[in-house]
């Protein structure tokens, strides 16, 4: 279970999260919605431990572990995974090399045996196929020259391989056409399980047609302003974020 209590966080000296409370039980999928600037992505980065996101008050515990005491790689080993809104391009690092290093680093930290190269290749190829990622893409430098859709599929591939227990998806739907969205959503849905919790951050309701959440939280001005069932997302689609301090409609 993820428990966030009274979370305050600054970015560049400006307070973005202003006393956020959130509980995400194990095995559930919760959506975080809200207008631009409400602090959705900041929450994602704070969960993953980005350095320049300074937590000034409050706590985050994951299955009883104080996440704020861990550095980003330790959080990954504990089971936290952030699917980035804008995955980084790293020239000079082959995607396959990166995947193997990441998987083995996490396995090592979890006291599991490192995978042999043939075993690893087999697993990657199998998982990649479901996400329509071909071998040629895996040979390319990490995310370099990837289309928006390819980058997001690559994020989901990483998520699948690292077997996290807490998945945070930051605007995974941004920049995706409907076909790519479906592939990504299928990939995410395949990972839903009793042991795994997911926090799906999105500006639009569209993604939630494919990844149906157990709960929806609406963020406004650095806190959760309202929570409800999946129907809340549909309501927002009609009314927009106006009452939450946003201008644009959610649709």
């Amino acid at each position: 279970m993820l428990e966030i209590k009274n979370l305050h966080a600054n970015v560049g000296g400006r307070e973005i999260l202003k006393g956020l409370d959130l509980t995400l039980p194990t095995g559930e999928v919760h959506a975080i919605m809200g207008p631009n600037g409400s602090g959705k992505s900041t929450l994602a980065y704070v969960l993953a431990g980005k350095e320049d996101y300074e937590v000034t008050d409050g706590s985050i515990t994951w299955n009883g572990t104080d996440l704020l005491a861990l550095d980003p790689s330790e959080r990954a080993a504990t089971g936290v995974f952030l699917a980035f809104q804008y995955p980084m391009e790293i020239p000079g690092v082959a995607t396959m090399t990166f995947l193997r290093s990441a998987v083995n680093a996490v396995r090592k930290a979890r006291d599991e045996e490192e995978l042999s190269t043939p075993d690893f290749m087999r697993v990657v190829k199998e998982k990649a196929k479901g996400l329509k990622i071909d071998a040629e893409m895996l040979r390319r430098p990490l995310n370099v020259g990837f289309s928006g859709g390819e980058k997001k599929r690559n994020e989901i591939l990483q998520m699948t391989l690292l077997e996290p227990s807490l998945c945070v998806l930051d605007e995974t739907d941004s920049g995706l056409d409907i076909d790519a969205l479906r592939i990504v959503a299928d990939g995410v849905n395949a990972l839903r399980s009793k042991e795994r919790s997911m926090l799906v951050i999105t500006h639009y309701q569209r993604l939630l047609d494919y990844i149906v959440p157990d709960r929806v939280h609406v963020m406004s001005n650095g806190r959760v302003a309202r929570s409800g069932g999946p129907e809340l997302a549909l309501e927002l689609e009609k009314s927009g974020y106006a009452e939450f301090g946003g201008e644009a409609t959610a649709a």
């Binding site: 993953a48 431990g49 980005k50 350095e51 320049d52 550095d71 980003p72 790689s73 959080r75 990954a76 080993a77 995974f81 952030l82 980035f84 995955p87 980084m88 790293i90 020239p91 000079g92 690092v93 090399t97 990166f98 290093s101 990441a102 998987v103 680093a105 996490v106 930290a109 430098p141 990483q158 690292l162």
Partner: protein, 450 residues
């Protein structure tokens, strides 16, 4: 007001003269008028130039006059012990085991017992110890020695010509294509602090091709002062891959000069990886003397502590339709200093020249320094030339991305640094070497090679 008065001679400056004066009669080829005249002219040129210092533009970042306090004597250690283990230590296992025709030059002596002379000869290559052939140089050598893309203004080169002792003279006759690379291993540091003047002359005649790796290592830590010059003539339609690995002891002085001249439709691919020495200056002079040729001169330098690594290039497009590419990557930690000076000269009638140059430094500490001085001298109007230089730190966003995937910070950092230098290694055609360089950079970073 120009007062070109030789004000004084520093101790080191005088030491070099004394070295020559004392050794002149015993230097290889002393009895040969051609060689003796070459040496005399060179020491006179050195006398005019003196040791380069910071007011000489090409040496403004590397002041040899202030950096060299005294000059070590010439020492000939004959039959120095070179065990496999020592070779592994000096060059790293991957390079020591590099499958190639091996030529070992230890303490300036070409070690026939450790070299694949007969196999090379069987492959059609003319190969001899330079010291040996200087006694009676063959015509082909007389035509090239000191005459491949010569420089009048280089004191390091002049000193080398005056004092050259060890090295090889190597000729690839017309059309010879070697099935494996040649590995020229230059090892020193078995005895007391010494000065070493290596000189290699490599001539690839029309249509010949080969990969030549020069590796420089230390057998011990003894304050080596190395001056190494390699002349490479790439004949018409010939192709040479020329690679250098320098991983000398931390207290070594390494002054390296490559002089390269290309004929028509020739190809020259050079790469230098500089890891060792307290002060390393790598000078590469490339001249295009025939149309339709191309040269790629790239390299990487990894330096830490107070290491000083200077790469100085001059590429001269003297004839039309040639292409040159340079990519240098520097990784600088602690108080290390990296220098890149790259000059591209395009002569008035060298139309359709294509020259591109890039130098990039990654600074791992606040106190590391990178100085870059690109120069374009273009006298033709129909050319494509460009240069660029960047200097930066590790991108924190990339670092976070890798860490968020479970890579602990030191590993994530190492991965990014390796990716940065790895781009320069791409120039190296030979896969085994490329892997060896990746392993060398991993070792430098203290991580396991992938």
């Amino acid at each position: 007001m120009d007062l070109s008065v030789q004000q004084f001679r520093s101790k080191a400056e005088q030491d070099y003269f004394d070295l020559y004066t004392k050794a002149a009669k015993a230097l290889p080829g002393a009895g040969n008028p051609f060689v003796a005249a070459l040496r005399e002219d060179a020491i006179k040129a050195y006398g005019r130039l003196g040791l380069p210092h910071r007011r000489v533009e090409a040496w403004k970042y590397t002041d040899l006059r202030s950096r060299i306090d005294e000059v070590h004597p010439l020492i000939a250690v004959l039959g120095a012990e070179v065990s496999d283990a020592a070779l592994d230590r000096a060059l790293g296992q991957a390079i020591a085991a590099f499958p190639a025709y091996r030529l070992v030059i230890a303490e300036g002596e070409l070690r026939v017992d450790l070299s694949d002379m007969s196999a090379l000869r069987a492959a059609g290559v003319e190969i001899a110890s330079l010291a040996h052939v200087l006694e009676m140089p063959p015509e082909w050598l007389k035509a090239k020695l000191g005459q491949v893309n010569p420089r009048e203004d280089d004191a390091v080169l002049a000193l080398n010509t005056a004092l050259m002792t060890g090295g090889v003279a190597l000729r690839l006759p017309e059309g010879v294509n070697l099935d494996k690379p040649i590995h020229l291993i230059q090892l020193d540091g078995t005895g007391a602090p010494a000065s070493i003047f290596n000189r290699n002359v490599i001539v690839a005649e029309e249509g010949a091709s080969a990969t030549i790796l020069e590796s420089y290592g230390s057998l011990g830590v003894t304050g080596l002062q190395r001056n190494a010059v390699t002349e490479v003539r790439v004949g018409d339609k010939a192709s040479i891959h020329h690679i250098k690995l320098q991983r000398e002891a931390a207290d070594a002085l390494h002054l390296g000069v490559w002089l390269v001249s290309l004929g028509a439709d020739a190809r020259y691919n050079a790469f230098q990886l500089s890891l060792g020495a307290a002060l390393a200056r790598n000078q590469v002079y490339v001249g295009f003397d025939g149309e339709g040729s191309s040269a790629d001169v790239s390299g990487a330098c990894l330096a830490r502590d107070r290491q000083h690594c200077d790469t100085t290039l001059v590429v001269e497009h003297r004839v039309p339709s040639c292409a040159s590419r340079e990519l240098f990557k520097l990784v600088l930690d602690d108080e290390a200093r990296g220098i890149f000076q790259g000059k591209v000269v395009v002569a008035p009638d060298a139309q359709k020249s294509d020259g591109k140059q890039m130098a990039q430094a990654l600074l791992l500490s606040e106190t590391a320094e990178f100085d870059s001085k690109p120069e374009l001298e273009i006298f033709a109007d129909d050319v494509v030339c460009g240069h660029g230089a960047t200097s930066g730190q590790i991108d924190e966003d990339l670092l976070f991305y890798l860490e968020s995937r479970g890579l602990p910070e030191p590993e994530a950092r190492a991965m990014l640094i390796q990716a940065f230098v790895g781009e320069a290694f791409e120039v190296v055609d030979n896969e085994v070497l490329r892997e060896a360089f990746n392993a060398a950079s991993a070792a430098w970073l203290g991580v396991q090679a992938d």
